[in-house]
């Protein structure tokens, strides 16, 4: 059985955090202590497994991305009116850093979407903040955690699965946002419409995001209708809606 000191030494070696003295000790023990060397070799295998697993996961992601790109009509890759499903996430960071928006001045629905969809709806429904104690895993907690860590592909998958057994407005809101983030606009529209039709909660944000879905898919007419409704309210979305409506018009 390896002791904590050895484990710590090995972990520090792989994290490149060994001090000079520790490096000397490490090298000597690698030459003389077979059990210690076996521990190092085992750690190497495990890290290799983690690396390979990560590569496979990213390969799957690229394969699924390729499928969505293939669905676009020819010639749309570069100048299509649809954005990739990570656009919104990238825009948040880039806009704040570079202020690039002044670079483009078009009022196309696509660009309006990019301007106004600054971030997905926050998860205010289920906290996933962790202390030191492990959090028990369940489909529900995994879905919220995936959303919190911005893994929207995974969140959409898990929330869709959850919807089969339990319907709740918060989950629908996050599912709609996940779908919007990954470019599944029709699904997102359906989520927000269901939220509006079946529940009394979250009507205003649902209308706001639904109007953005319409904008993203180029359906300016429906976006205008939805924004007008929102603009007539006296709550937080009204100002944004009026502003956007002006631009759509």
């Amino acid at each position: 059985m390896n002791n904590d000191y050895d484990i710590n030494l090995v972990e520090k070696y792989f994290e490149q955090e060994l001090t000079e003295t520790e490096t000397m000790e490490f090298n000597i023990r690698m030459e003389t202590d077979h059990a210690f060397k076996a521990l190092v070799d085992q750690e190497k295998v495990i890290i290799k497994g983690i690396h390979l697993d990560g590569l496979h996961r990213d390969l799957l992601y690229l394969q699924s991305l390729e499928k969505t790109l293939k669905q676009k009509p020819p010639g749309e890759d570069r100048y299509s009116k649809k954005i990739g499903y990570y656009a919104a996430a990238a825009v948040v960071t880039i806009l704040s850093v570079i202020g690039i928006w002044t670079y483009t001045s078009s009022n196309s629905s696509e660009e309006l979407f990019l301007t106004y969809y600054d971030k997905p709806y926050p998860n205010i429904f289920e906290t996933t903040t962790r202390g030191s104690a492990p959090v028990p895993s369940s489909l529900r907690t995994d879905a919220f955690k995936a959303y919190d860590r911005k893994d929207f592909n995974e969140a959409a998958r898990l929330f869709t699965e959850l919807q089969k057994t339990e319907k709740d407005p918060g989950m629908l809101m996050l599912l709609g946002n996940s779908n919007l983030m990954i470019g599944q606009i029709e699904e997102a529209k359906l989520n927000f419409t269901t939220l509006l039709n079946d529940f009394d909660d979250l009507d205003l944000p649902a209308k706001w995001y639904l109007s953005l879905c319409y904008l993203k898919s180029g359906d300016v007419e429906n976006a205008r209708k939805m924004l007008k409704e929102l603009g007539e309210t006296e709550v937080s979305y009204a100002t944004k809606a009026k502003e956007l409506l002006k631009e759509v018009d």
């Binding site: 495990i46 697993d53 496979h56 690229l62 890759d77 990739g84 990570y86 825009v91 880039i94 959090v135």
Partner: protein, 209 residues
């Protein structure tokens, strides 16, 4: 010039608004979203080039491009690629060319590219004291049994090369110390699971050892 379709980030890369080093930093600090942006940015040009230059089929070209992007991404994450003397595009074309040559040399022109196999070989080649494929397979099995949030944390740290501060923020831990303690606990569990997997593998395939 207006940006009509590509995500804005891709547009910025294309128009050289970001320097090559800034692109690398962005990818290094990012995740799958950034990977996807780079993928889409150079996809059309790369596929067109590789199909024309090496007479690859559409499917093979896409497979090669996906592996090329992964190599690029992996090299950035591992700190092997910190500065580019040329452009990202030139770098990707270089990786792609080597990949095609290597694949054709090993498998011949008529054999389709096996991405899974290629990725395994790529990952295994990096070690001096190479562990067997079976051992790494056992490690992957152990990882799959680890559960969340451990798997995510471990992968962010060892594969994504995220700092404890970044992990704390992304996975909502109280602070970096808590995240580090959690990582140690997760690794302890993973080592135990690996031991079990290894034993199971030994029992199931005794003659291959």
């Amino acid at each position: 010039m207006r940006c009509y379709g590509l995500p804005l980030y891709a547009f910025i890369i294309k128009r050289n608004i970001m320097t090559q080093d800034e692109i690398i930093t962005k990818i290094k600090n990012g995740g799958q979203a950034e990977l996807g942006v780079v993928y889409e940015t150079y996809r059309e040009e790369f596929l067109h080039w590789i199909m024309k230059e090496y007479k690859c089929s559409t499917d093979d070209s896409q497979d090669i491009y996906q592996l090329t992007i992964l190599v690029f991404y992996d090299n950035i994450k591992n700190g092997k690629l910190e500065h580019l003397v040329s452009s990202v595009k030139t770098y990707l074309f270089g990786v792609g060319k080597n990949l095609v040559m290597e694949w054709r040399r090993k498998s011949g022109r008529s054999t389709p590219l096996d991405q899974e196999r290629w990725l395994n070989d790529y990952a295994m080649e990096e070690s001096d004291n190479a562990p067997t494929e079976q051992m790494v397979h056992a490690a992957r099995n152990a990882l799959s049994k680890l559960g969340e949030p451990c798997r995510q944390l471990i992968e962010m740290f060892y594969y994504g090369k995220k700092s404890m501060e970044e992990i704390t923020e992304e996975l909502h831990y109280k602070n970096a110390e808590t995240a580090k303690n959690q990582k140690c606990k997760c690794m302890k569990r993973l080592r135990k699971l690996y031991e079990e997997e290894k034993t199971r593998t030994l029992i199931e395939t005794p003659y291959e050892q």
